[in-house]
Symmetry: C2
Amino acid sequence: MDSHPECLFCKIVARAAPAQIVYHDEWVTAFRDIHPAAPVHVLIVPNRHVAGLNELAEAGTDLAARLLLAAADVAHREGVHQSGYRVIINTGADSGQIVLHLHLHLIGGQHMRYPIG
Amino acid sequence: MDSHPECLFCKIVARAAPAQIVYHDEWVTAFRDIHPAAPVHVLIVPNRHVAGLNELAEAGTDLAARLLLAAADVAHREGVHQSGYRVIINTGADSGQIVLHLHLHLIGGQHMRYPIG
């Protein structure tokens, strides 16, 4: 597994930093955001270190597919697949991306505002 | 191609409804949102009709991968891959999903608010 020694999310994947993990498989790990924006707020990350969406193609199509499909799986596990949920991926400074390890926010359990951005 | 006769996004994919298309390939079509939330606001949709993220697994992993990777490609074409961009997928009523054909919002060209949801 390609991990980065200084990366918080790599440490969570390796169980070397605490997190409330709700799902994991050979490709991805999902855990609760420590500052939830909604009743359900889970982060889904690749197990290997990928800095962001701009770098995902280099990591291969299998991982790209699994990341996106895992969001629907976790929504089902969290009980929001029918009521509705939002998946958000932030990339770069304008977006507010903080941790430079690709992560999908999965948010649900409340009515979300629209428009977006 | 599986299309739905009443679906606006199927019509756009088929060039039977107007849209400002910025990218297309065998899997996806990307076009500008008619009510942009930011200077760059592009919708990326599968060419075949998929209602939402809950139904994406049935459509196969190749499409899932291509959808997510196309977002990074379009961000590059739109010149926001370095400055930053946000990808948003709404699913179901709580999220504000309006058109029941899966679409990724790609938003950039401005500083986006945080938190999200």
